[in-house]
Symmetry: C2
Subunit: 328 residues, 2 copies
């Protein structure tokens, strides 16, 4: 049955604050480089005060994927919670300007729009601290089953397991998708997020995830195995399609007995924030437009390469033109 949307994403609706720091800043603050740590409002104030000047732009893992997939021509919707404040309006403007349908009403009281304080070191690695703010208000009532049924793929970010009420929303959305024969895609988001919610993730994956997106650290953590190869086989056995990334070593797309290795696209690394999100966008835009899995992986690599070439998690160049130039 034809659907109105190719992809509907659900995630924490977040505005990013990106600042460039040196390695010493991370040591001084005892931070785990490359990780995402949850912080409360007070910690967010303290960390922000110690940070250099930054730039603000819309972020959120699934929202980044939705914006990039729309830029590649997919028809996309997104659900997530912002407050009725300046940063919430920035988020709404940007995802709407990207061509993504965003029907979620803002909260009228409570915490301000979520923020992710992103510290980028000279090697292009990002270390993130997220204040969930208004995004914790996202709950089952915010999931419209009719809208889920109207999208070929439901895309869920793993980070959504962090706000307590969102887990119920997450499961309700997945159930609504499955009930109407739609595919469910899951991104594992972060190895520490996997650690925090491993049992729930394992149950969800076994219970009906069709498309799994993860990097090496996340998928080995999910299956508690020591090698990427073991994790690949575990994923192959459980999900219809797994797209497993290995940074500059490229990615593997695995479907049944098929295995396709896709090289990373050449890029000058400035800021890796959003690389995995952009990869998922290319993959899903490819799958929903009927491309073979090698081309889906190549579209993912192409989108990721664009995003890591500048500061900020969303594409700045015209992804459709980049794809056309690459023969798509």
């Amino acid at each position: 049955m034809a659907t109105r949307f190719d992809i509907i994403g659900i995630g924490n609706a977040i505005v990013d604050v990106v600042a460039r720091i040196d390695e010493a800043f991370l040591s001084r603050h005892v931070m785990r480089k490359g990780s995402m740590t949850l912080i409360d409002a007070e910690q967010a104030e303290r960390l922000y005060a110690s940070m250099p000047a930054g730039e603000e732009s819309s972020g959120g893992s699934a929202a980044n994927t939705c914006a990039a997939a729309a830029a590649l021509g997919a028809r996309v919707a997104y659900l997530g919670k912002v407050a009725d404040d300046q940063l919430g309006r920035v988020f709404r403007h940007d995802i709407t300007a990207a061509g993504v349908h965003f029907p979620s009403a803002p909260t009228r009281e409570g915490a301000p729009t979520a923020r992710c304080l992103i510290l980028v070191t000279p090697d292009g690695q990002r270390t993130m601290h997220t204040y969930l703010g208004a995004s914790v208000a996202f709950a089952e009532r915010d999931v419209d089953p009719a809208l889920i049924a109207d999208a070929a793929v439901l895309y869920l970010e793993g980070y959504l397991f962090d706000p307590p009420a969102a887990q119920a929303a997450f499961r309700a959305a997945a159930a609504a998708a499955r009930a109407t024969g739609r595919r469910v895609a899951l991104s594992l988001s972060d190895p520490f997020c996997v650690e925090r919610h491993r049992d729930a993730f394992r149950a969800l994956v076994r219970g009906g995830v069709d498309i799994l997106c993860a990097n090496e650290a996340e998928v080995t953590s999910l299956y508690q195995v020591n090698s990427f190869e073991e994790a690949v086989e575990a994923a192959r056995a459980e999900v219809g399609l797994a797209a497993l990334t290995q940074s500059e070593a490229g990615s593997l797309v695995v479907r049944g007995t098929e295995t396709v290795r896709v090289p990373a696209a050449p890029a000058r690394v400035l800021d890796t924030t959003g690389a995995g999100d952009a990869y998922a966008a290319g993959l899903l835009a490819g799958l929903t437009s009927g491309r073979d899995i090698r081309d889906c992986g190549r579209l993912g690599a192409l989108a990721a390469a664009e995003v890591i070439g500048h500061y900020g998690a969303r594409p700045q160049a015209d992804l459709r033109r980049l794809a056309a130039d690459a023969g798509f």
Copy 2:
């Protein structure tokens, strides 16, 4: 007498929203490329809604100059008005993180923090639309004469002539500086700003501006002459020092009978927003640290080249290191 600060800047405290657009966007909206246009809240809403996704960062002409001068090692203070809202806190954070003393209290009611919607075309030119918001609340009461007396140079942006109450503040600050033997520097900001306030600018310049910063279009508009050469001589006759920029053709620094031509520093042009502000920063940081006028111009060119090499009006690289690498 020794002062606590080298420079105190006064200007419209603004958060920039930078978006990349194509030339067709400007034609469609009948915009004057390269100009700054004042807009009201409703126009700001409409324009923002029609813009692509953007990035937010602290701006404001004199504030940019202050941030860059501090990055070059100058001791800097800044006065300007933000609201007590998210973008106001972003502005306060960023200028404070840049090492600039920012004692101005936020407004508690009224308009939100000022925003400048900046549209950057592929040639690196920026077309700006400013909603003055809370910055119009800046008035004479916000000028502390003791603080003005404690800075070697008072730096005023021409844009400050646009909010009506600020003109009185502007004159009071200049009078306070002159009364205590401090130097007064003025940036003309924009040729259309000069047109709007030409008589007031002319009176101010004649009445005691020691350092004039302007580009070719601004200074020829100020003196209503047809050639850059005539404007240079008019400025030479009226101000102690004039630093007059000509984009990629470099700048002229003129002091009494001295004339120094300074080439532009090599740069890949991505976004010219803030180029003039950064030039003024290098010039003033040089002057207040006792450098000769050629080196002051060279520091200006170096700072401008850094700023036009990326999106956003404030320096992203370490300007002190760049200056050191250039032999300063």
